[in-house]
Symmetry: C2
Subunit: 275 residues, 2 copies
């Protein structure tokens, strides 16, 4: 049986998918595309073997998982696809209501860390589908990610303040921020070590391909996405896809702060697959 592999249907993972197609990896894996949250459910239900998951989910399930080295979705300063949009300057949000997109867990916690640790603010949070208009109907600020956030980067809404959470995180911690990591179920990795190594290798190879062919990725993606090729190229080159020491430090910093605020029960160890 081919390894059952998850892929996040999200614009920040497009470069990886492009590489998987170009490097013809899709013959050797059984790919399931879904939202990050659905994929992590399927992984924990043992319906998938290898999968990208939101950073915060790794902290919750790390004892059953191993990390694939060399691969993440991260940023080093600007991310341009995670924005807090506010009617008032960010430091005035104390006691006000903030609507959080229900499409991201990791970014929700990231926002709460930034507001607490950097601005010393306590706000009221409500979850909402990602629609800026309706979010701002009964909240003073809105957290958006993905295409909705990129649209704000593309054209800043008039009369609103917009804060890139990658920039805010870097200003607070001087660190990179890791949004998603790739993992295998530990049991699967023990039983099929070479297979997981092969997948890890193919994925890193595919990502490398996309990074070195980013013009082409952006052009081919623009055919099917709402944004134009130049904009997509700028976005894909803003994102970081590595997972070396510096990324790991940034991720651990995120976990320490998340745990201090009670969002995760414990700080996980970063257990990597041996390759």
């Amino acid at each position: 049986m081919r390894p059952r592999v998850g892929h996040i249907e999200f614009i920040n993972c497009l470069p990886l998918y492009y590489g998987l197609v170009k490097k013809q990896v899709l013959w050797d894996v059984e790919l399931t595309k879904d939202t990050a949250r659905e994929l992590s459910h399927k992984l924990m239900e043992e319906k998938l073997d290898i999968c990208p998951i939101p950073s915060i989910e790794y902290a919750r399930h790390w004892r059953e998982l191993v990390l694939l080295p060399g691969l993440s979705v991260s940023c080093d300063g600007p991310v341009t696809s995670i924005f807090l949009v506010s009617k008032v300057p960010i430091h005035e949000l104390n006691g006000r209501k903030i609507a959080l997109t229900n499409t991201s867990r990791t970014s929700q916690v990231l926002l709460k860390i930034i507001l607490h640790d950097k601005y010393h603010i306590e706000s009221e949070y409500v979850e909402s589908p990602p629609n800026l208009g309706s979010m701002l109907l009964d909240a003073d600020a809105a957290l958006l990610i993905g295409n909705e956030a990129l649209a704000i980067h593309y054209k800043a809404p008039e009369g609103l303040y917009a804060y890139d959470l990658g920039v805010e995180w870097k200003a607070l911690t001087q660190q990179k921020m890791v949004f998603a990591v790739w993992v295998a179920r530990k049991k699967f990795a023990q039983e099929k070590l070479q297979l997981v190594r092969d997948v890890q290798h193919s994925f890193v190879d595919s990502m490398q391909y996309s990074i070195t062919h980013v013009d082409q990725v952006a052009e081919d993606a623009a055919r099917w996405e709402v944004f134009d090729a130049n904009f997509l190229k700028a976005y894909f080159t803003t994102l970081r896809f590595g997972f070396d020491q510096e990324y790991q430090q940034g991720l651990m910093e995120y976990y320490r702060r998340a745990q201090a605020l009670g969002h995760i029960a414990e700080i996980p160890e970063l257990n990597f697959l041996e390759v």
Copy 2:
């Protein structure tokens, strides 16, 4: 939006998938893999735009569909993946119970046509999951397709009679038999004609690639399938994937006989996409 395209998770469609990977088509379609039956449901619910469907399903929904030219899953004589396995010679099955795999509609009707038109037999039919042992517990014969049928071709079960339905059909009609066709929803094809033409072209091109590289397809497939490369190569070269005049005649012959026995309400027209 990429066109939403279905792919049958079935060994007879592996060559097409291989071609789609090698020709890097998967970037330009949103692929959903499922059983033939599930795919045709999704197509009729407008959750898919382009899809392979069982021949019998085309007859039921043809007014809402257009056929993609140049592509089918067919045979010309032996098919080796659709078998009637029987405790007694086939002409002795009159009045006996036959268990039909619940994984195929087209083959169920094909068997009934063969038994009625060629052997003049009326049997009692029950549907069953595809397990030869349990099927033959309370039936005298069993219809199997796919891997279960190939296993019989690989090693004939002792003391049982096995009949290849492709051979039986050819003996009855002197025609090819078409098991699956590729279709687009008519409305989608009207709105996105060039896109559907592009997909049709890519699919025919991908299938052509696999046919000319069948050794490689069989070898790569053997890594993940239960059968060895030689066996798979023999199977893939037994199957036919074209859809010219002769295939169309064979399909119409099937429809005429299916309608005469009351399995479809009317004989469909073969409406092709203009390419």
